[in-house]
């Protein structure tokens, strides 16, 4: 075990930090610390421009292999990049779904043609993606998707029908990856296909859903004879589940370390408030602030373990607890923020419902324990896969 980074890595850190110092300013100053979960609606155009700026500097998709436009950055370097990015107040990445989900999935399972067609747009910070998994009847039970894909011999295209829901950033995306049934008679995880679908077409309707924050970053997406080219299916018809699950593996990747820096920024803000308003002298709040600090530090140690281990790619135990750990921690942080603010926590900065950063964080952290596999589903997974306890009975 060794804690220090190599001199080369430290040099890389300096390179990242100085690029950010020089570029994340001027026209981009207002978007520092903005965007991300709970704040996706803000500065969208500026943040899209920022994606291209990042791309020009060669700072998108750095973990991808060089042949696909990445830097082939080591895990350590990706950790460093994410840390420095968040430390500098880098805005929430509109391109993160394409970079961390679509890209790795295509690199692992896609055809050469698909890689050539889709990777450059993601790499350039110009084409944005969303994730079309959940449906009204397929939430935790993801394999219960009802959307259908039928291959139309006449046009040589896949025709999609059905409804997706909770599709984050669909309204800002050119593409969506969708799981849909290729075999209409099939059930559960059999008979699914994984499709790359263009959003800008007559067969696709996007309807925003307003969230408890009053803003909307997720949507309902309807497919009514939406079209998808014959070679825009990843893997074979029937292999969709395998591809979809492979993708969920990428979800637990290195971006979590950048997320931790955002959490650190939030905790720092809470500490500032506590010192300013006297909450820092309240023994009970002191305990909770220290507990939050402990929890965040351990989150980092845990992900260092996660990223150092499992050369064979198998899911380590520390990786299995990761989602449950961070979501619970962050949800508690939201409550702590309000408690530290005290009576002021109720007062909204601007009418009608323009929430402050910590207020919006507080409300939106309730989503953390739901999306990406709820806490209950995480516990089922841990109990069954890590502890070998009996599987849930299925209806």
């Amino acid at each position: 075990m060794k804690l220090s980074f190599s001199p080369e890595d430290e040099q890389f850190r300096e390179e990242v930090a100085s690029w950010l110092r020089e570029n994340l300013r001027g026209e981009f100053e207002p978007i520092r610390f903005r965007g991300g979960p709970g704040d996706e609606h803000s500065f969208v155009e500026e943040r899209k421009a920022w994606e291209q700026k990042l791309a020009e500097g060669g700072w998108t998709c750095i973990g991808w292999p060089k042949q696909y436009g990445g830097r082939g950055a080591s895990i350590e370097q990706q950790v460093i990049f994410n840390e420095e990015y968040a430390r500098a107040g880098g805005p929430g990445r509109i391109g993160h779904i394409g970079e961390t989900l679509t890209g790795p999935t295509l690199i692992a399972f896609g055809s050469e043609a698909q890689k050539e067609r889709y990777l450059p747009g993601i790499r350039a910070g110009k084409e944005f993606w969303c994730q079309g998994y959940s449906e009204p009847s397929a939430g935790s039970d993801l394999a219960n998707v009802k959307s259908k894909a039928r291959f139309d011999e006449a046009s040589g295209k896949w025709i999609l029908n059905g409804q997706k829901v909770w599709t984050s950033l669909a309204h800002e995306s050119q593409y969506c990856f969708v799981i849909a049934r290729t075999d209409p008679e099939s059930k559960a995880h059999k008979g699914l296909g994984f499709f790359l679908v263009a959003m800008d077409q007559p067969g696709v309707t996007i309807r925003p859903i307003e969230q408890l924050t009053g803003t909307s970053e997720f949507n309902e997406v309807f497919f009514d004879d939406a079209e998808c080219a014959a070679d825009d299916i990843v893997g074979e018809p029937g292999e969709g589940w395998k591809v979809a699950m492979g993708l969920l593996g990428f979800e637990r990747g290195v971006s979590t370390l950048g997320q931790q820096m955002l959490f650190q920024n939030e905790l720092d803000e809470i500490v500032r408030v506590a010192k300013a308003n006297g909450a820092a002298r309240d023994p009970a709040l002191r305990q909770r602030i220290a507990e939050a600090h402990i929890g965040l530090r351990i989150m980092r140690f845990n992900s260092m373990r996660m990223l150092s281990g499992g050369e064979d790619g198998s899911l380590q135990k520390e990786a299995m607890i990761y989602k449950l750990y961070w979501s619970s921690w962050h949800r508690n942080l939201g409550k702590l923020a309000m408690d530290v603010m005290g009576a002021e926590s109720e007062i909204v900065p601007e009418a009608p419902y323009e929430l402050g950063r910590l207020q919006s964080m507080y409300l939106f952290t309730r989503a953390d324990t739901i999306y990406g596999g709820t806490n209950q589903i995480q516990r089922n997974i841990i109990a069954e896969r890590a502890l070998g306890m009996p599987r849930e009975p299925r209806g």
């Binding site: 075990m1 060794k2 804690l3 220090s4 980074f5 890595d9 350590e76 950790v79 500490v271 500032r272 506590a274 010192k275 300013a276 820092a280 023994p283 002191r286 305990q287 602030i289 220290a290 507990e291 600090h293 402990i294 530090r297 351990i298 140690f301 845990n302 260092m304 373990r305 990223l307 150092s308 281990g309 135990k317 520390e318 607890i321 449950l324 750990y325 209950q376 995480q378 516990r379 089922n380 841990i382 109990a383 069954e384 890590a386 502890l387 070998g388 306890m389 009996p390 849930e392 009975p393």
Partner: protein
Amino acid sequence: MEFRFTDEQVMIRDTAEAFLKEVSTSEAVREAMVTERGYDQALWQQISQEMMWPALHIPEEFGGLGLGFVELAATLEQMGRTLLCAPFLSTVGFGVNALLVAGSETQKQTYLGQIAEGKTATLAFMAPGSRPDARAVQVTCAADGDGFVLNGEYRYVLDGHTADILVLAAREAGSEGEQGISLFVLPADTAGVSREWLPTVDQTRKQASITLQDVKLPADALMGEAGQAWPALAKILDLATVAVAAEQVGVAQESLDSSVAYTMERVQFGRTIASYQAIKHKAADMMLKVEAGRSAAYYAACVADEALANNPLGEGLAEAASIAKAYCSEAAFFNAGCGIQLHGGVGITSEYDIQLYFKRAKSSETLLGDAAWHRERLARQLLDGDAA
């Protein structure tokens, strides 16, 4: 950055696991814990002479194996898992670390050599009713010719009634807080030292009181400079704290494992109770605690290594120790407590081992500061700097 065991560390962990499974069985623990001594001397001989564990992180020049704190933590974790009854934490967590941090070359030569050969040691610093900070040091020391004379009483001294070597903290009369503290090392049979076993709730770890009546010590018993020992003592306590946290990970792990095993056997309403989601989810929460605690303990062990080598990363020792101890204390207690619940009625019997883990979890939580105490220590660092 490489935050995982090397092959050698894996081997050390596996060896410890296999050996302890063999020797620290439930029967062995129960036999040892009801004695006043608290451990089997033949087993200690084996531990020190065959396994050479007390010598693990003693440098080779002093007769040790020259390994690091991570190897030590890996071994301690397995000791916690099997509730090993032995004066290991006292001898190594306190004694060896005290000598490494504060001992002169001669003191290290003498005492570390003895420890490597099987002698035991401990550290005494706490006055009755005190908490583990500088104010705990109440025994007084005064100059006496070339040497010193010590008077007063210590309580809560781990294995204090059996240790061969004592490290003692004392203060100049009239001094306060972190000022005026000195450390001494001496053979336990020094005249004027009287020691008494204190029976404990957790019978697997022994405590004693030590009373000093005009104990005369030669000048060369002093560790470091007279009156200046607080930074060294603080560091020793932090190192010992990391050692306790590593042990707690083992306690938490075994509480989980034995409870899951029990629920997979026990049938109610026609199915194993492990198939009920309320049980599964509790077990999942327990696993989260163990794994997060393990990350914290091993991080702290890495920092402890840096601190022993006086490297810059070692400056984070106090913080890392508090993080590990706060979290692992609660993890071990949570898991042992939930463990009793998952066992149902048998969890309340003395026959099942889960109660022993529950007791160890509590005694370890109290030892060197409970979770709230360490959180407050961190809060001071986070919140009491210059006001924003």
